[in-house]
């Protein structure tokens, strides 16, 4: 019997994550309520939308809780050195420009030890997507403050409150030359999926700053009651969409981070420029 069209649309089919997960690797190592798992799921749905073969995707990471991601996914994967994921990814992309190269990195991995690689990747505008899992702490090593820990927050290394002003990851990526810069949160998971998809579709360096929660360290030390409480306070109430910001009174925007696509321009991409140069020199030689 045929089902009427409008009814068909209502039938909910949950996403088949197993298609992209390595069998037998779950449960993952992340703590109960850790935002990294929510971000991973949004990433898999976004990659699925690309409709490309799994073998044409490469996921690269450094070191940290977030950097454990490649161990769970069934793509080409590389788990590298702390802060160096973008450098390995640059090599992969130059060797295989046809490959979709995605870097999964923590805020510490990307911006502290890896800060130099981060700015120079953006400067080159090489076609890589960097997903920065920003939990504002070093999760893996026990909760030391990171370059994105907010002022006055407690960390293992800032028992009296952090006195270092944090980076705005998006402003930094933009200033360094990234041609697609966006922010999302684990709470706004469907919006995040769309933002990651747009980043993956962009030609050039794309950076998505993803606010997610580390309930074990940041949460406990800063008196959040639960992962849910963190998602509500930091992700839902702590951010505002760029699409709404102009319609809101200033007091509703003050102190909040912007979500959505914040910067998108066209600029020559590194691998293409490299190929052009090689071609030009080869032609000159054969004349």
């Amino acid at each position: 019997m045929s089902v009427p069209a409008e009814k068909k649309e209502k039938i909910s089919v949950p996403f088949d994550y197993n298609k992209y997960l390595r069998p037998g690797k779950l449960p993952h190592i992340w703590c109960p309520g850790c935002g990294h798992g929510i971000v991973l799921k949004a990433m898999l749905r976004a990659i699925d939308k690309l409709g490309i073969d799994k073998d044409n995707v490469c996921v690269v990471s450094g070191i940290g809780c977030s950097s454990r991601t490649p161990g769970y996914v069934d793509f080409n994967t590389l788990h590298t050195l702390h802060g160096r994921a973008l450098s390995f990814a640059t090599g992969i992309k130059l060797a295989r420009p046809d490959m979709k190269v995605i870097v999964v990195t923590g805020d510490g991995d990307a911006l502290a030890i890896g800060g130099n690689h981060f700015i120079h990747t953006c400067r080159r505008n090489i076609d890589i997507t960097a997903l920065v899992f920003t939990n504002a702490i070093y999760g893996m090593t026990g909760g030391q403050y990171s370059p994105t820990t907010p002022l006055e927050s407690i960390a293992t290394t800032s028992r009296y409150g952090n006195i270092e002003p944090p980076f705005d990851t998006c402003e930094m990526a933009k200033a360094a030359g990234a041609t697609f810069v966006a922010r999302g949160t684990a709470y706004h998971t469907l919006e995040l999926e769309k933002t990651i998809y747009e980043a993956l579709m962009h030609k050039g360096t794309s950076v998505v700053d993803i606010i997610d929660a580390c309930p074990t360290y940041f949460g406990r030390m800063n008196k959040y009651k639960s992962a849910t409480h963190m998602m509500e306070a930091m992700e839902k109430d702590g951010t505002v969409s760029v699409k709404q910001v102009d319609k809101l009174p200033p007091e509703k925007v003050a102190g909040k981070m912007l979500r959505g696509v914040l910067h998108k321009i066209d600029r020559p991409e590194y691998c293409e420029q490299y190929a052009l140069l090689v071609q030009e020199k080869a032609q000159a030689k054969s004349k």
């Binding site: 039938i11 909910s12 996403f15 779950l26 798992g37 998971t189």
Partner: protein, 67 residues
């Protein structure tokens, strides 16, 4: 259509994967779920609107809702 014809969704929970964070319970708009010890359980299946929020925000691939 009468109530008898109303088809209930199927909520699949994987107790081997659920870490008991309670995110799905807290964000379910219609109070379908509850924590039983360290694993989530269905309390009121008839109230489920199939919105998928529990699945979308579960960090552990532990809950899915089928029509």
């Amino acid at each position: 259509m009468g109530d008898a014809a109303k088809k209930l969704p199927r909520i699949e929970i994987n107790p081997k994967l659920c870490k008991g964070c309670s995110i799905c319970v807290d964000f379910c708009p219609t109070n379908v779920l509850e924590m039983r010890g360290t694993c989530v359980a269905v309390k009121d299946l008839a109230a489920c609107t199939r919105c998928q929020l529990c699945d979308l925000r579960c960090p552990d691939f532990a809950i899915q809702v089928f029509d």
